[in-house]
């Protein structure tokens, strides 16, 4: 019998190794798998390359992972956010490097990676500093830049509900990068507030089919980053 449930966040992150590339879902706090990230901090893997749109806020979740100096390279589109105080310091000291990617290029790189596409041409960033050093090519009179697909050793994402096959549905704008990261992660773990019986999710409404998911962790009452930050929580 297929049952992708794992007992805990600790079990979900157990195999992350030093130097791994890790995709972490979320756009700001929406969709941030805080409990999985905290388990990753406890687990101790370092020298990570982390892919996320932002760099977290306060000293919880992704920001706490960065603060613990586990992240050597951040691949993101917008590392400047309200209450994002941890990343600027480590960036300026050179402890965490930054690969800045336009948001749509980031999404398409992840999508392409998950689809087995090693590279693609886009007009985004042509003529800007972010296109410097990249291959350019003209199609039908317009200039494009070559961007590479992105894959990851692990993807950690957050959903609303899943079944034992790993079929996932999401909540509103917390969906954001999660479905594409699920496809690009060699091993994808999803934390969900609800685990339901197979068949309970409408097959027409499933957003991420279980083939893209290797593990499901039940986190019944996930924390919200803004609430932790407002309470002045610092992890660990």
């Amino acid at each position: 019998m297929i049952d992708k449930q794992v007992a805990s966040c600790a079990e979900a992150v157990a195999d992350v190794f030093d130097g791994a590339t890790v995709m972490i879902g979320g756009f700001g706090e929406a969709g941030s798998p805080i409990e999985l990230i905290h388990a990753l901090i406890d687990q101790g893997a370092k020298d990570l390359t982390v892919v996320n749109n932002n760099t977290g806020s306060g000293e919880v979740g992704l920001a706490a992972l960065i603060k613990a100096e586990r992240v050597s390279l951040m691949i993101c589109s917008y590392p400047r956010t309200t209450n994002s105080t941890v990343f600027p310091e480590l960036y300026r000291s050179g402890k965490t490097r930054l690969e800045l990617v336009p948001q749509g290029t980031l999404a398409e790189r992840i999508r392409a990676g998950g689809a087995g596409i090693p590279g693609f041409y886009t007009p985004t960033s042509v003529g800007t500093p972010l296109a410097e050093g990249k291959e350019h090519r003209e199609f039908e009179g317009r200039e494009y830049v070559l961007e590479r697909g992105l894959r990851a050793d692990f993807a950690f994402i957050k959903g609303r509900a899943a079944d034992r096959y790993g079929n996932v549905v999401f909540n509103k704008t917390a969906r954001n990068f999660a479905p594409i990261m699920a496809t690009a992660g060699k091993r994808t773990f999803v934390q969900v507030a609800e685990v339901v019986e197979a068949g309970a999710l409408d097959p027409e409404a499933i957003v991420t089919p279980g083939i893209f998911v290797q593990g499901v962790v039940h986190v019944p009452e996930p924390a919200h980053e803004s609430e932790l930050v407002a309470r002045g929580v610092s992890y660990p």
Partner: protein, 227 residues
Amino acid sequence: MSSNPVGWSREEMAGRVALDIPDGSYVNLGIGIPELIARYVPEGREFIYHTENGLLGMGPSPEEGGGEPELINAGKKRVTALPGAAYFHHADSFVMIRGGHLDLCVLGALQVAANGDLANWSVGGPDAIPAVGGAMDLVAGVKAIYVVTQHVTKKGDPKLVEACSFPLTGRGIVNRVYTDLAVIDVTEEGFRLVELAPGVEEAEVREKTGAPLLPRLDPQPQAQPSR
């Protein structure tokens, strides 16, 4: 009554942009003055707002203290979803942007050049943390790009310039600029005045613009077309 007796206030600039948006448009609004446009939809028109973090049919902010942490806009502020809204993931969201499906994007600017170049993401300082978000995707893919901005910086420097000195967001992509002083088109020949804000003289706009400003094309008397 506006607090600024000459020219347009932020709200009036937003209202002026809204007048130019056709009924039924799919629109992405940037952070700042562009966000205000949603309050000024002209009577009888309906716009559908896209936010790049995965929502079409974005509604107004919830009441103070309301809303939910997983329903936010691209500025990470809480918003609402209107009846008929749709959620989608980031790749689909940027298919809408990069695939030319959105009709209009209204953005703020640091500088706009006479050839339509836009700089709005970085001042390029050595200690600045660079952050680009979706701006480069929007200007590369959306059918029309409007900029709404103060005409000059707080120090009084022109924001409409011959060539941008800040790092570019995109080349030759701005169609029209709305400032506190005027509406200006970016044309093949450069900036062209379209409309002056109330009480503003053309000479003042010209003086505060860092590139040549072509005069307004006088509206031609319109003969009633025969059908």
